[in-house]
């Protein structure tokens, strides 16, 4: 299994972590927009979510339906152990890099 993750994938994993246990496509898209100041289409979120599930970083469970969804049930996502490990590792690598770097002199 491919362990590496892309930028958007990392973002979505982080969003899932913060929104848990209410993380599903629409709430993720809304949160994404709030933080990034940039909207994202529903299918784009879906694509990333499915990819992460197939990589084993996310797990999904069926939720309740609401009237605006035409009664169709939501699918909630949560991080798996591997998923957590992967973003944690990214975070650690970054912190190391930041710690070693000096502030560049802008000329």
């Amino acid at each position: 299994m491919n362990d590496s993750i892309g930028n958007l994938e990392e973002m979505v994993l982080l969003l899932v972590m913060t929104l848990e246990p209410e993380a599903y496509a629409i709430s993720l898209a809304n949160e994404y927009k709030k933080i990034k100041k940039k909207s994202i289409s529903t299918p784009a979120i879906h694509t990333v979510l499915k990819r992460l599930v197939s990589k084993g970083f996310l797990s999904s469970r069926a939720g309740e339906g609401t009237p605006e969804r035409g009664g169709r049930s939501k699918v909630y996502y949560s991080l798996t152990k591997e998923g957590y490990a992967v973003i944690k590792e990214v975070q650690i690598q970054r912190e190391q890099l930041w710690a070693n770097a000096e502030k560049p002199q802008f000329t």
């Binding site: 599903y24 496509a25 629409i26 898209a29 809304n30 289409s41 529903t42 299918p43 784009a44 979120i45 879906h46 694509t47 499915k50 990819r51 197939s54 339906g65 609401t66 605006e68 969804r69 035409g70 169709r72 049930s73 939501k74 699918v75």
Partner: protein, 850 residues
Amino acid sequence: MKLIIKILGNILHPDIKDEIIGDLLEAYDQRAKKNKFIAGLHFILESFISIKWGKMFYQNERLWSSQNVKFSLRHLRRNWRETVVHISGLSLGLAICILLAFFYFHEKSFDTFHEDHTSVYRIVNEADQGVQYGVTPWPTGPFIEADFPEVAATRIYHTFRKTPTLARSDKQEFFYEDDLFFVDGNFFDILTFKLLKGQTSEVLKEPNSIVLSESLAQKLFGSENPVGRELWFESTLRLTVTGVVENSPPNSHLQYQAFASLGDIASIFQATGNRFSFEGWYWTAVNTYVRLPHGLTSQQLETDLVDFTQRHVPEAFAHRRNFKLQPLADIHLNSDEIEDIFVEKRSEVEIKIAMLLGIIVLSIAIINFINLASASSSNRLYALNIKKRLGASYGQIFTQMLTEAMMVVISSLLISLLLVFGTLPYFNELINVRIGFFDYFQLETLGWFVACALFITFVMGFYPASYTLRQVSKDTFGQHIKRNTITQKILVAFQLFASIFLIYGCIIIYNQFSFLTQKDLGFKNENVLMVPIRGTEASMNTQLFKQRFENSPYVTNTSLLSDIMGSTVQLVPFRIDGKPEQQNIATMFVDFDFVETFDIEVVDGRDFDPTIHSDSNAFLINESALSYFENGWEEARLNRGNGKIIGVLKDFHFMDLHLEIEPLMIGMSDAWRNYLALNVKGSNFSEIYEDIESKWVELEPNRPFDAWFLDEKLNNLYRSEKNQSIIVAVFSILSVVIAIIGLLALVTEFIQNRYKEIGIRKVLGASVNQIYYLITRSIALLFLLVIAFNLPLARLIMGRWLDNYPTHIDHQWMYYLYAFLITGLLIGSLISYKCLRAARVNPIEIIKDE
């Protein structure tokens, strides 16, 4: 939106279906709070993207594989009866549609083959009464060239009311060549017909040069090189062949055999015995074409031409010389209102009707396929369900069904092309065009063709496939689900609608045609032999010829006249006492025997009388012309030779029936004797013809005898109506047959759906009649509903067609009733047969299964 959700539901994998649709809907809901429209657009876009990725992730299997072809072939072969019906219906429909599309594009392509054709215009001469002529005065072209040096102008002259003769200079074999045109030297720069021999700017530079078409050159000189050879024109003028031009393209409004130089007009006139002046602005006889330089628009030139008229045309008739510009490509289709001499034209309504017919026929064929395919889908639910159970995805089943549709479409297309190829010659002959099968097979059209095929496949395949899928997804092993009856009814309604409309159209066109050909023209046209005599010995020596002919035992009377009765008549300006302006009135010039020869009733006054000397200046008028003489025609004085009016004739159709009866003056003049009409008796026409021909040859040895019977000529005028009615009839019948096959399939399915119900009803004591009533009721209601919508529309469309003809049949309820009865009886009897069979079935047969 509901539709999209449905589609998504059908296509997406059930595991992810709810999540995706739910999320999309919620996103829509959020966005809709701001702007509904944008939210809708987002929804549609996102739905499509969802389909795409949904497939990527949830179907590891391929959607389309070559297996599909195998399965489809197997299915089509197993149900070969159905396949034959599908393919034959569709290929017929397609063939008709392709033929009509050929026709449409052919007509639209007229004159577009000329280089830079958008900058070429024809000068149209508008008279003050709104009458437009395609012909202009002689000086128009040269004066335009002088006043606007950047504009190139050319004239085309067709020997005035006379079919000239040609012959090789070394052989005295004269023949008539009607498609010979005299043109200015720069002709080929403006109308760029391709020269096969000779230089564009050289060939017509010298006077008395002639360019032959390929076929005429072949006819005259065989395989010898014609360039440099000489021809006799009218046995007095020598013309030298300087070039060969391609045969006239089928989509040219000008159908020619030869072009000769207008360099020496006087000698041409002399040769044809024409004594008019070609210098004044009075006589309009030539078509003038101009090529505008880039940067000069037609509007600009039109404005300038107003001043031009003021400058050059004498004041007396300047108001009748308003020059307009007509784009070259418009001449063929948009000249209904313009009076022309040699222009090939067609009414645009005609080709629109052809296109409409094509679209109707194709729709019928497509709907038929949809009906038949969905009707038979219940038979294959078992197979599809098993496939599904064995692990096929919805997408795979969907694409397999689309593959089937595609195979039907492709094979129908190939068959229809063969059909078109085979029938094109007959089609061409019927509607009097020359369309080549390969004319329209360029890359662009092929692209369109493929696009259309894909589109038809999609339209045809989509509904049956998604409908079948819906049934599969309901997981109904063997259980029968009723079809969505609304869709079914709409489809049936359309079939009925189109069938009634086509039959109605057929009846109207047929009636109009027989009306035109059988209408009493108001004058005798049977057994009248017309001899063209303009510019011949006979026109100089009329009395001698008349006497000779009258000596024949077959000839009863003869009359000289200026025009062919029943086709067209020249307009002549008159100044009438009490009217301030000059009036253009249709005028024929005849001799003393005219009224007797054509057996026209004199309703008031008297006929011309050879014993009264002043009658040679007198006029007869028709009833319609009475409107000019409110104070009584007896006292009226005319400006022509101080003539007076001596009698009134009953109205007769002196013009073609496409035009209304207008006021007519009939006078006497020597200069206008163009035809000699012979009233013949007897039944052996070839004997009569030979007898008269022998008399002609005695007097005029150099000129072939070229007479024709008036009624034949007049019937030819209505040939296009006749052929139109044949084509519409054939195509309509074919498409009605296709429609009925489809309806029958639907009814069969409809009855099958209710088989069990019928059985139970019968067990409970319903009679055959009651069951019959039960089944047919809904179809009958639908039929009535269709009629309610159809009637106004059919009347409107056919009304517009009929409006093309000033003399036309009126709408009668009877016609619609016929259409209604024919369709009703045809469909009714078929349905009744099916229904009664169902109703008669022993109920045990039906319900024994349970």
